[in-house]
Symmetry: C2
Subunit: 377 residues, 2 copies
Amino acid sequence: MSNIKGICYSDAVFKLIKTSGKARLGTLKTAHGKAETPFFMTIATAGAVKGLLPEEVRELGGQVLLGNTYHLHLRPGEDTVKKAGGLHKFMNWDGPILTDSGGYQVFSLSKIRKLKQDGVEFQSHLDGKKIFLTPEKAIDIQKKLGSDIMMCLDVCPPYPAKRKEVEEAVAYTSDWAVKCKKAKGKSKNLLFAIVQGGMHADLREKSAEELIKIDFDGYAIGGLSVGEPNKLMYKVLDSTVPLLPSNKPRYLMGVGTPEDILNAVERGIDMFDCVLPTRNARHGYLYTSRGVVRIKNEKYKNDMKPLDPDCGCYTCKNFSKAYLRHLVMAGEILGLRLCTLHNVAFYHKLTKDIREAIRENKFEKFKKNVIKYMLKR
Amino acid sequence: MSNIKGICYSDAVFKLIKTSGKARLGTLKTAHGKAETPFFMTIATAGAVKGLLPEEVRELGGQVLLGNTYHLHLRPGEDTVKKAGGLHKFMNWDGPILTDSGGYQVFSLSKIRKLKQDGVEFQSHLDGKKIFLTPEKAIDIQKKLGSDIMMCLDVCPPYPAKRKEVEEAVAYTSDWAVKCKKAKGKSKNLLFAIVQGGMHADLREKSAEELIKIDFDGYAIGGLSVGEPNKLMYKVLDSTVPLLPSNKPRYLMGVGTPEDILNAVERGIDMFDCVLPTRNARHGYLYTSRGVVRIKNEKYKNDMKPLDPDCGCYTCKNFSKAYLRHLVMAGEILGLRLCTLHNVAFYHKLTKDIREAIRENKFEKFKKNVIKYMLKR
């Protein structure tokens, strides 16, 4: 564990404040304010966090929201969002917004897709309409949305995939990254590239090198948490993260569980997003400081204690496990809302604590403690 | 239009403050505080307003919540609620709660039911389990819930119904009312009886007379808004309301549209409940000061103006019609929440305005104006 004192990159976008081992504390500057890293982005796929107001996410410690180019293009359409004055005004959130490029969704949600040199043709999962998404179009949409952090359109191979398929994905991703950077032009929106390469260290290296040569505001690691064993993901991080420039933010896409986040921060990742806290909340799978609570369990029927006695969120301060269980069992909308509120609070509290631990140069100890507690049951 | 000055019944439960025509301004005293009449009760069937926190309902002007004996008995069960310290603590609402007796639900939700002298046997709509609900049991459940205003178990005939069936319903309702009053004993919970009699003026009179003789804290009119034409409902109110004691609160169950409420207040009704504001909100049917807005309509796709420029609710202050439409079209939970918030705000604003109009002795003029606006489109 090392603590590099006095290092402070003056790069406009990312400032490294402190490290604890490889874990990094920093700030990311966007057109809508700064965010302290490592941070977790709450998912607002279609321009709304499922069940929560943007200002509630802010109160829970959320700094950056994540919208999705694919979903917002299909509905309501980027032109409507632009007419509203951008996604920030449309959804009433004045903090930073990162927009995913749509690449992952095209490859995961659309049944029929054709990969071409220029882009990807796919069918809308809503009405089956054929849509041709190019790197230029992906950037155009994200500009219209008013995204603070745009993502390059990439090709995300499934897991497992043949090496040839992964090689192809890396080639497309690099080619499209050039086009995305050109399409970005002089706009102030930040642009991140996505490192692909599946589980192959050499392909990851190739992808990273090619993208770094083009030069982006930040680098994401894509194609992980797609079904591979956790250890494999950590192995890829071990080999890939050191390839990324230390003066740029590093974003691990679609990850993950609280443990995944701790393990990735330990390896030098700065940014995260994941559907887990919100989606799991809707199924009554709740994160607490004393382990996961599956609130539908019969044993909570008459449990009048709060969900997490160490949590200060509205749900934990005002309601019992018995009430939450009742709401979830009865399918009450308020149950979705209260459970989501808690899980989002948990994730933002976790990342806040992570930042504090790095600041105090005791990340490794903190991580061990948290994992010990979280695995308690 | 008359204004009876100086009349102030000192009855512990209900105080009549002022009248404007037959419209009445009053206060209803319960174990959890006073409520000013006429008021509208937001529905919290299973101990939760669909999508809203109790404190949000309070902020919107809500004074009394309505829980349901039938639903709460089935899930989570009155014993669980009692263990929580009652429904108030369970759901975190310290204002008055009225609980419906379950009679209406037994007759509307349960497929198989057998009416017996002692009570009614029905099948749970959740798991088909047979349940026998008696007047005594209905009161016992409501006591365990900690209801401020309990309702007698009644028999609610459908519309249309044969006269014989309505006669039978009136007989059962009176018989069970005696048993409910006895079961109430000396508990401080208020107990209201429900006048039945269908569309027959003479049966309504019989029902009212029998119940008034037993003496209750308030009187409800049940069996209306069950499919009959609106004019018929008003006709029943015209003949029935004058039969009710003027020093007791009068509650029109399950009603209704904003116009129904205005027309019923005009006839001397003090209390209302209805699923319309919450259920309609979930379908994008929104009440505004300028008429109903069906937010799914294509014409709102790019409408960046607020839903109701005269409304001060969070939804109208922070979001556009285009955004609400997008949320509802996309099936976003936040859409249900924001639409519900607005409709509940509308109903409570309406009843607040009604109270002000009565206070200023200009209810009739107010009613005409509101109906004119609301019917504009």
